[in-house]
Amino acid sequence: DTAVSQTPKYLVTQMGNDKSIKCEQNLGHDTMYWYKQDSKKFLKIMFSYNNKELIINETVPNRFSPKSPDKAHLNLHINSLELGDSAVYFCASSPRRHNEQFFGPGTRLTVL
């Protein structure tokens, strides 16, 4: 019944590794997003993906890349992980861009 799900919930890894976080929504929404929430709870948009159109926040390093195998999934790949990547990453979806968004439970990434 979960509307927006993410796996894994926790991810602990070493610097330099490559990792992925998966996101799935069963709401039939057209737009999906990835956010990063830092330790001060500040929420920053990383990507939005709508009908194969990718909008990238220009401040996001190109080590981060979203991949969407279909409309219900938007996975996040991170290469060469750095200490500063430690944060909680949220996936979200909305019926169309600019509508209210539905968030997943988050993935807490810790880079050692």
Binding site: K41, I45, I55, F90, R97, H98, Q101, F103
Partner: protein, 111 residues
């Protein structure tokens, strides 16, 4: 660029008292404004939105927000706070491409 500001990092109220969480916005054109709530270790949950129409918007869990164009504000309100309302609240505005969130206000309701 569109932006929102939440001037208070922390708001404390006693249970049963009215609560207000403040938000001001800066947009070009008509604003699309939202409130979300985040409970500990959870994702954000949508509470309410203003697109057009009545300035007083009603949302989930008894919350409402008042849109004030002259003051460029969209404050979140509830007539009687519950301890279970304690959480982190985010105001957001629709940007050209996506949603832009404020820094969040931590609401603590004490019994």
């Amino acid at each position: 660029a569109q932006s929102v500001a939440q001037p208070e990092d922390q708001v404390n109220v006693a249970e049963g008292n009215p609560l207000t969480v403040k938000c001001t916005y800066s947009v070009s054109g008509n604003p699309y404004l939202f409130w979300y709530v985040q409970y500990p270790n959870r994702g954000l949950q949508f509470l309410l939105k203003y697109i057009t129409g009545d300035n007083l918007v009603k949302g989930s869990y008894g919350f409402e927000a008042e849109f004030n164009k002259s003051q460029t504000s969209f404050h979140l309100k509830k007539p009687s706070a519950l301890v279970s309302d304690s959480a982190l609240y985010f105001c957001a505005v629709r940007d050209s491409y996506d949603m832009r969130f404020g820094a969040g206000t931590r609401l603590t309701v004490k019994p």
